[in-house]
């Protein structure tokens, strides 16, 4: 049974996200919540697979942010794609600033970075330890 749960996102997180967006008196049946849990795993696999296929066709090994945006758009999730493209730009900007900050060590630049409104969780640094992730996206032009 532990194996099965590994293929799903934690139901506590799912429930929390749903509760937050729904009216306070809304109730969700256990079955519906568990089904949603399976649906989001399907979504992850589906979008990633599409992005990965594109990479294979273009002889690239690493799926990057542009590929995800492209996959979302191709699969009909245009509104998600638009939002993600904007996040991607900000993400790369943030990463660039961080890289520049590491090179130069002036306090002025450090101040600039901290006043950036895009307070990203340290996902990038935490992911360095994992095998399948590569740091830094390619600076390729937007693919549409």
């Amino acid at each position: 049974m532990v194996e099965e749960q590994d293929k799903l996102l934690p139901i506590a997180n799912i429930g929390r996200i749903m509760k937050r967006i729904l009216p306070r008196n809304a109730k969700i049946s256990k079955e519906a919540k568990e089904t949603v849990q399976e649906c989001v795993s399907e979504f992850i696999s589906f979008v990633t697979s599409e992005a990965s296929d594109k990479c294979h066709k273009e002889n690239r090994k690493t799926v990057n942010g542009d590929d995800i945006c492209w996959a979302l758009s191709t699969l009909g999730f245009d509104n998600f794609s638009d939002i993600m493209l904007r996040y991607l730009q900000k993400f790369r900007e943030f990463e660039r600033q961080k890289a520049e900050q590491n090179k130069a060590s002036s306090s002025e630049e450090r101040g600039e970075v901290t006043s950036n409104g895009f307070g990203l969780q340290p996902v990038a640094s935490a992911s360095l330890e994992f095998g399948i992730l590569e740091k830094g996206g390619s600076s390729s032009a937007k693919q549409k």
Binding site: E42, I44, D53, R86, Y87, L88, K90, E95
Partner: protein, 132 residues
Amino acid sequence: MAEQEPENAITESVQLEIPTGRVKRIMKLDKDINKVNSEALFLITHATELFLQSLAVKSAGVALEKKRKTIKLEHLRVAVKRHQPTSDFLLDSLPMPAQSLDQQKDRAKSRSNKKPVPVGARRIDAFFQKFT
């Protein structure tokens, strides 16, 4: 949140509710997937949150239409059907209506509402049951 203006959504700090480690593990289940960089992982996680919210809101809308307070599997199914891109990849994955526990529970509830069984009757039922 997706409902707010896009500009506000970007400048607010991005807090991911879903653990990226688990998302990565789900992606890894597909052997064809080689490497995924950190920005891709971030975007997929965030898109998944939006998708989840979208499903929740749409299902709630269906439940409201049917004048129900509790969102059930059937409401989710209708919501999925109504959005073509989602329906294309998801409809077949949903459990069949016949297997729906929600429906079984509803049926059991309506049955018990019609006929309250007196204590004596249970004893008679027990008489006809097989002893294990």
